[in-house]
């Protein structure tokens, strides 16, 4: 059951242009763990099942689905970070930059802060890894520490930060990489509602503009395509507010269960009812 709704102004119609990022018939199976996983999973665990998904230029795609269905695995596959033991079938195509590297920036579900770097140094990891010059990244980082409510914690060690602060720092780090395609794995999971809405708004407005600029910059060098965001979340409201398209995966093995495009103009961007019923399956 695949439902398609209208698209927003930014996101082009499906099939109209080459997708920025594309997954075709992706099936991922994890082998039995060493010493056996035991129970029904022996002989391998099928996580994603013939999943196809395109992200077009400027599009913001939210991925929803039950816990353990393969959302993080999908994001890892897009980021080129899959466990090498995983068996992968199907096609994955992601944009690359001038130097031939993936044009993606991935934010792991468990923040991935480096224990041996202070908060600011952890933020700069994004810039360093992506090759963003320090004199551009550092002032921006300072400003984002302010905006993200982390000011004063520049020199704190990760273990001295609260769970939500860690997550904000991880998002900050990801944004400093200035990559055209963002792969965000539950970036707002540990935040209180107020902070969450604030961060949502920030991502929607400020960042998407900058990201498109980054994509343009990359595109000028290479002959690559534009920008995009893939956001994994469990928050339906967040998905409906932010995303141009919502994708719901089924229980493991994750298959495409539901897909909807945001309605242009109107008050209700999505049909909440059908979305909820897809999630309740």
């Amino acid at each position: 059951m695949t439902t398609t709704a209208n698209s927003t102004g930014r996101a082009p119609e499906a099939g109209r242009s080459e997708p920025v990022l594309s997954v075709g018939d992706l099936t991922i199976t994890f082998p039995a763990s060493r010493g056996g996983r035991g129970g029904s999973q022996d002989g391998g665990l099928n996580v994603l099942d013939a999943l196809s998904l395109d992200v077009h230029d400027g599009e913001f795609v939210a991925v929803l689905g039950p816990s353990g269905c393969g959302k993080s695995t999908l994001l890892r596959a897009l980021g080129g970070l899959l466990d090498p033991r995983a068996q992968v079938e199907g096609t994955i195509a992601v944009p690359s930059d001038a130097s031939g590297r993936r044009a993606t920036a991935w934010m792991p579900q468990r923040d991935g802060l480096l224990p041996w770097r202070r908060a600011m140094a952890n933020a700069m990891v994004g810039a360093i890894a992506a090759g963003v010059p320090r004199d551009r990244a550092y002032p921006r980082a300072q400003q984002l520490f302010e905006e993200f409510g982390l000011a004063g914690f520049e020199r704190a060690w990760p273990h001295e930060l609260s769970g939500g602060m860690r997550q904000r720092l991880a998002l900050l780090r990801t944004c400093l990489a200035e990559r055209p395609v963002l792969l965000l794995d539950e970036p707002f999971g540990g935040l209180d509602p107020v902070t969450r809405r604030r961060m949502n708004a920030w991502l929607a407005t400020v960042h998407l503009t900058e990201q498109a600029a980054a994509a343009d910059a990359v595109a000028r060098d290479a002959s690559t395509t534009g920008s995009g965001v893939v956001l994994v979340t469990h928050d339906i409201d967040e998905a409906m507010t932010l995303a141009d398209r919502i994708v719901v995966l089924s229980d493991r093995p994750g298959r495409l269960l539901y897909e909807a495009r945001a309605r242009q103009g109107g008050e209700e961007r999505y049909d909440r009812g059908s979305l909820l019923s897809a999630l309740d399956c």
Partner: protein, 265 residues
Amino acid sequence: MIGATHRTQRVPGSRLRAALIGTATVAVLVAAWEAAVRIGNLPPFVLPRPSQVVATAVEQAPLLGPHVATTATEAVLGLAMGTMLGWLLAVLTSAFPTSGQISHPVVLLSQTIPTVVLAPLMILWAGYGLTPKVTLVALTVFFPVLVAATAAIRDVDAEYSDTVAGLGGGKAHQMWLVRLPASVPGALAGLRIAATYAVGAAVVSEYLAGESGIGVFIQRSRKAYAVDQIFVGIALIAILSALMVAAIVALRRVATPWQTNLVST
């Protein structure tokens, strides 16, 4: 655009590869050695050619068996004892810092007193048999295990001990559930160092008062100016050491099944 069409990808047979590269390296080294001696025209008493050494080894083969057996026994027993000792001490001192502060100077002393000084005392106490040699090997071995295991325990995330303590676990539980398993990779790194030293330590202990063993063989060969025999002895030490290290590496696979990133070394 990075694109890829996947059909079940698998990790390559990296262990076989490692073994092949290792063998090739040794072969190249031996060839270089042979060439160096021939080209440099070094007298055989400075550095014999590997071909000579092999010939001598073949010739002496019947003699070598008992020597190798003695040294291997000392090394294995000492390694086992020393590892147990070092690991236990690491776990103990991490649980009771005072015991660490007390044992610290003793441990340091045990590592700094030269064997030549220790040996007569050791013979005084343990006689001439296997005991003093196994003790000397254990003394060499226990230290790297102790230090590396202690470091591993100390570096374990406080998160884990907190989790156990937060469920009502006492010191003993934290020890058993967190410190002990957390110390395993470190203890194994120490053991990897120790295994390399164990055979050498056994050989040195044989210099002190031995009747059999690779150390005795080398010592007799040295005094008899039999340089090629000395190199046979060295080759035996290297081979035994390599076997010990291989055993430890294999042990690591078994002892830390949760670690998937077990590459090389």
